[in-house]
């Protein structure tokens, strides 16, 4: 990893997210990600549903019968308080990234910016990274079975014959050109903040203090802790409820955390196979 570049990432502050989805569009426009289906879900204003090969930013909408803030003055005015949580989800660019560890081809790699990127010229679509991600971020862009399967596409977008795995690159190409990632640049309220990770973490801690002082209901940081199961996120969040409410795992752990032990038990199992088979030869031919 290039020593000169600082590790960069996102701090997504949901307390100022207006759910406009500019991040989703700016991402797709820049990265030429195809439109992937006109499906109305009825899940509040979310018709994107989840991150995947064709969705690298996803804004979650959760309507709740709960006050946004617990401070007396305004909260008590409304007999039936209501809040509308909005959160722009994205690849976490984990410190210990499951997808990166398990990729057999080296298509996934850690860039000089400390981000995790799939190299589209290397990926052979083995699909191992898909179940290896604790957040369900990566997915395979499937080859269209019949022409009408083909998602509509921009002229700029090449044939979307595919079969490779895709995810947020944190705009690797823009970073190389000294530009901010598309989603962060577009975000009207700077709910999505891009920058050097250390600096973002300080900012997030201050922000949390402020919100807690203002008695925001359920304010917490998610993925900021470097001792968590994935060694902290490169893209972390300020949430206003339990992670799972936003479709996020409460306590994600990188699969390879158990790998040493796993290899050991695999070695033992191999030995056992050998021993077992050898045993089968005792007692000769009868």
């Amino acid at each position: 990893m290039n020593a000169t570049a600082e590790r960069v990432g996102f701090f997504t502050d949901t307390s100022v997210c207006i759910g406009c989805k500019a991040c989703e569009v700016a991402c797709k426009e820049w990265n030429l990600v195809p439109e992937d289906g006109l499906v109305w879900t009825g899940d509040s204003y979310d018709n994107t549903s989840e991150l995947g090969a064709n969705t690298w930013r996803h804004v979650a909408f959760v309507e709740q019968r709960a006050p946004l803030r617990l401070d007396g003055d305004v909260a008590t005015l409304d007999a039936e308080p209501m809040r509308w949580l909005m959160e722009s989800d994205v690849c976490k660019h984990c410190t210990h990234a499951g997808c990166l560890d398990v990729c057999p081809t080296g298509a996934l790699f850690r860039t000089e910016f400390g981000t995790v990127v799939v190299q589209e010229d290397v990926c052979n679509g083995c699909g191992y990274c898909v179940p290896a991600c604790p957040f369900g971020v990566l997915d395979k862009r499937h080859l269209p079975r019949k022409p009408d399967d083909m998602p509509l596409q921009l002229p700029l977008l090449g044939k979307n014959e595919d079969g490779r795995v895709w995810k947020c690159t944190l705009c690797y190409d823009r970073l190389k050109g000294g530009h901010e990632p598309a989603c962060a640049q577009a975000c009207p309220t700077k709910s999505i903040q891009f920058g050097e990770l250390d600096e973002l973490r300080e900012r997030a801690d201050k922000r949390l203090e402020k919100l807690q002082a203002e008695q925001w209901n359920g304010a917490r940081l998610y993925g900021r802790d470097e001792d968590d199961g994935v060694g902290g996120f490169g893209a972390f969040f300020l949430l206003l409820d339990e992670p799972e409410v936003y479709g996020l795992p409460p306590d994600p752990v990188v699969p390879t955390k158990h790998l040493p032990r796993l290899w050991a038990s695999t070695a033992l199992a191999s030995a056992a196979v050998f021993a077992g088979v050898a045993l089968a030869f005792l007692g000769g031919r009868e």
Binding site: I18, C20, K21, E35, L38, G42, L77, W84, L154
Partner: protein, 848 residues
């Protein structure tokens, strides 16, 4: 209020969020809990169509508790002015002001005037059968034009006089108590008081607050009066012309402000000059005299008008021929699009240009527009994509229902592909009156062309074809100045050259730098006086793009150009006290510099630079000179902010609460239910849901979503937007879902007496029912983006709404009308009109 800023102006909303983070209270008063409400420090839900009751309540609260900003109100508003003794208020006449003419169904504003003012010349248009009902009373020019000079004849600085505006205001709003507001709007007394208190607390020398509105206010039969009420609040609290104050109209189209300043509107000429009325004026002098106010900047009406005529007809416009004043067509009726569409329906309108608009989806009573277009001889549609308005004859809803048959439609249709904003140079005037230039990035492809190209070359062709015409009728078009430089293979006219004409020039053809240089002797030409200066020194000021980090002040005066004279806040002399000192250091903006003997500040002062704060106009003063040094509202003849509007409105000098044209309720205040002056079209094609009819028991309101744009032509055709909101839906409360057996995620049919549409059902608490007058009233929410074409299609909400208009500006009421909701999808084909008819029959028996 009346705005969903976070959803419809998200990038502008960044400043609101920043203010919230710095401790500002963000209050959202709206029928729906929207993305804006979700960000607000307080959301207060009210019944759609009850905003005047709420705002009037605030006025009452301010006056009742003496929370008004004394120094501001006494000096800068017309509070002390005394009104004629024959004026009668709605409180006296049960919902009518004095001057109501039952036969004409219109007001004669005579009795609303200041004491001592006579009306005879106030509005030339008032003469010879031209009535207030037929449009603008007198353009913008007429305001108080009968005042002998800047000072109104009679006033009482103590505000004690029973007929002074202040006392009239007190009496008028006396019944708008918090209890009344709660009853009429369906909110709680506590919620209302919290809002009123917050506004009062943030008033005075040190603090201000701003009010934001959008079409949530304008699209009512009392839309203008909504905004008037807000103006009264802001004047009483001293929030006009001051930083962090004012009333912000957030407009929905890139250049909708520009298309009003340089109007593609029937009743005004560029710069808000009155369109001449039939038989109203003997000659130019008469026109000018009738529209010139003796005081204020409308005092120079003549210079503006003559300079425009010079811009139009150049050397052909001379003193001897009245500068071709006769060439201007005359109006004598409402020619707004809604009146026009009925004429189209009746066959008297035969040719129609539709450019960058989609009436078949975007206009109220969209079905009527489609039926009307089927009666045309010819139709020209210019857009980026083939929209509902261009192919109504092929796959419109009426083709499916059999109400129209393609073969029977005689309309000849031309669809011409347009150029997008990246394919042409030009300027938008955005919502903050800012002219911003956009540069061309690429050439338009194939037949795609700009509107500039289309109209220039259309005019060129017509002039060619008429070149030998001897008909007197053709002289205006043949003598029109119509020679703009063109460039490229496609011969695109130069937008900069057109802007130069708009800016204007003097006799030596040198560019003008300010409207103050305009003359009425024909020595100057100017296409739009308020834009004069946009090309000062021959430099395109609108194209200035000095980065914000290089700007001297946060006002960023060197980014683009704001009319008038690059002022970012108009009437900003009000940001200083009567002596010309800033009201407070925190809020310093524009002030009188005694040493320099001039006005200065971080914005361009909206005042004569050298006029001392203590200047008192001599009795013979005219025009701007007739405005006193402590009167900031220099476009008004008396230099005051009008708490009471003696002139300019056709439905009353003060706002009063009226029910929407279609409403489940009687008026809680007056026997008169709805605005008596509202514009109605009593025609079979425009039926109305009977008021209070049990067949249409719910209040429906239409709106936009962040992910789409108006009628969808610019968003339903874009893959990355279409997928974000891929279906027409209806928002209902769980109680209503229970009541009407609506399944979340299923389908519902929404029906009015005009049409029935279907939509997916979104059951959400965000559509809270309201307790109004002891009744629980449900509200139904409908986005209006969908139509029958595009990547995502759906029924058009505007099919449901009818045509009842605000009488001042002819804007339709689509923010509050009534409907019924039924479970399941709507009938198909011929069964659909039959179904609507059946429901209408059921409705008979509704009571007025």
């Amino acid at each position: 209020m009346g705005s969903n800023m976070a959803e419809n102006h998200p990038v502008g909303f960044q400043w609101v969020m920043e203010a919230r983070e710095r401790g500002a209270k963000v209050i959202h008063v709206d029928p729906r809990f929207t993305r804006t409400s979700a960000m607000a420090t307080q959301w207060t839900g009210i019944r759609a169509g009850s905003d005047i009751a709420f705002l009037g309540g605030i006025v009452h609260y301010i006056l009742e508790h003496d929370r008004w900003f004394h120094d501001y109100v006494v000096n800068y508003t017309n509070a002390p002015v005394i009104v004629r003794d024959d004026f009668r208020d709605t409180e006296d006449l049960d919902g009518f002001f004095s001057g109501w003419n039952r036969d004409e169904q219109a007001y004669d504003p005579e009795t609303w005037q200041y004491e001592g003012m006579d009306m005879h010349a106030a509005a030339g248009g008032r003469e010879k059968g031209f009535t207030a009902k037929s449009g603008h009373a007198a353009g913008e020019g007429g305001g108080g034009s009968a005042l002998p000079h800047g000072e109104p004849p009679d006033e009482d600085p103590t505000l004690e006089h029973p007929r002074c505006v202040f006392q009239i205001l007190k009496r008028h709003f006396a019944r708008y108590t918090p209890e009344f507001v709660a009853k009429a709007c369906g909110c709680s007394v506590e919620e209302f008081v919290a809002v009123a208190d917050a506004l009062c607390d943030s008033s005075g020398r040190e603090r201000t607050s701003a009010i934001v509105y959008s079409v949530g206010w304008t699209q009512h039969t009392v839309g203008v009066q909504y905004i008037r009420t807000a103006a009264i609040v802001q004047l009483l609290l001293g929030n006009m012309g001051r930083p962090g104050g004012g009333i912000l109209a957030l407009r929905g189209h890139a250049s909708i402000q520009g298309s009003t300043d340089i109007p593609t509107l029937y009743d005004i000429l560029p710069g808000y000059l009155t369109m001449p009325h039939v038989g109203a004026y003997d000659d130019l002098a008469h026109y000018v005299d009738a529209n010139t106010s003796r005081a204020g900047w409308w005092g120079n009406f003549g210079s503006y008008a003559v300079s425009l005529l010079k811009a139009y007809w150049g050397e052909h416009a001379t003193k001897d021929n009245d500068f071709c004043f006769d060439y201007l067509p005359r109006i004598d009726q409402d020619n707004s699009i809604y009146k026009c569409v009925f004429d189209m329906f009746d066959g008297s309108v035969k040719g129609f240009f539709v450019v960058g608009e989609n009436p078949a989806v975007g206009s109220s009573h969209a079905k009527l527009h489609r039926l009307a277009m089927a009666k045309l001889d010819w139709l020209v549609v210019r857009d980026l994509v083939d929209i509902e308005s261009s192919s109504f004859w092929l796959d419109g809803p009426e083709i499916e229902t059999g109400e129209l048959e393609t073969k029977q439609i005689a309309t000849e249709v031309f669809f011409l592909p347009a150029a997008s904003h990246v394919e042409k140079d030009g300027s938008f005037t955005n919502t903050q009156r800012l002219l911003q230039w956009h540069f061309k990035a690429v050439d338009p492809k194939d037949d795609c062309r700009s509107e500039l190209w289309f109209y220039f070359h259309l005019g060129r062709l017509i002039r060619q074809k008429l070149a030998d015409a001897k008909d007197e009728r053709d002289r205006p078009i043949l003598e029109l100045t119509w020679d703009y430089p063109v460039a490229g293979d496609i011969e695109e006219p130069s937008a900069d050259a057109v802007l130069a004409e708009i800016n204007g020039w003097n006799a030596k053809h040198e560019p003008l730098s300010s409207y103050k240089e305009l003359e009425n002797d024909g020595s100057t030409a100017c296409g739009c006086w308020i834009y004069c200066g946009v090309r000062a020194e021959g430099v395109n000021q609108a194209a200035r793009k000095k980065p914000r980090w290089e700007q001297e002040h946060h006002t960023a005066l060197e980014w683009a150009w704001a009319w008038p004279a690059n002022r970012r806040i108009i009437y900003n002399r009000a940001s200083a006290d009567p002596d010309g000192k800033p009201w407070s250091e925190r809020k310093r903006y524009v002030w009188w510099d005694e040493a320099e003997e001039k006005w200065t500040g971080i914005d361009v002062p909206d005042f004569d630079e050298e006029k001392r704060p203590d200047y008192v106009p001599p009795d013979d003063a005219k025009g701007p000179a007739a405005i006193a040094g402590n009167h900031p509202f220099i476009m008004q003849a008396d230099g005051r902010g009008w708490l009471y509007a003696p002139h300019g409105l056709v439905d009353g000098p003060l706002p009063a609460h009226f029910e929407p044209d279609e409403s489940p309720f009687r008026n809680p205040l007056y026997g008169q239910r709805a605005n008596p002056a509202r514009q109605q079209f009593d025609r079979p094609e425009n039926p109305t849901n009977p008021a209070g009819s049990p067949a249409y028991p719910f209040v429906v309101t239409t709106y936009r979503l962040t992910e789409h744009h108006t009628a969808g032509g610019m968003s339903r055709s874009v893959p990355h937007l279409a997928e974000l909101q891929p279906a027409m839906f209806v928002e209902v409360h769980p109680e209503l879902a229970e009541l009407r057996q609506l399944e979340h995620g299923g389908w519902a049919t929404i029906v009015t007496t005009r049409a029935a549409i279907e939509a997916r059902v979104l059951v959400t608490d965000r559509m809270k029912p309201r307790m109004v007058d002891g009744r629980r009233i449900h509200q139904v929410g409908l986005p209006y983006h969908w139509g029958s074409k595009g990547l995502t299609t759906g029924d058009a909400a505007n099919d449901l709404s009818g045509l009842a208009l605000d009488p001042n500006v002819h804007i339709q009421e689509v923010k509050a009308f009534t409907c019924d909701v039924r479970p399941g999808r709507r009938p198909r084909g011929a069964d659909l009109p039959a179904f609507v008819e059946r429901v209408r029959r059921e409705a008979e028996g509704g009571d007025e």
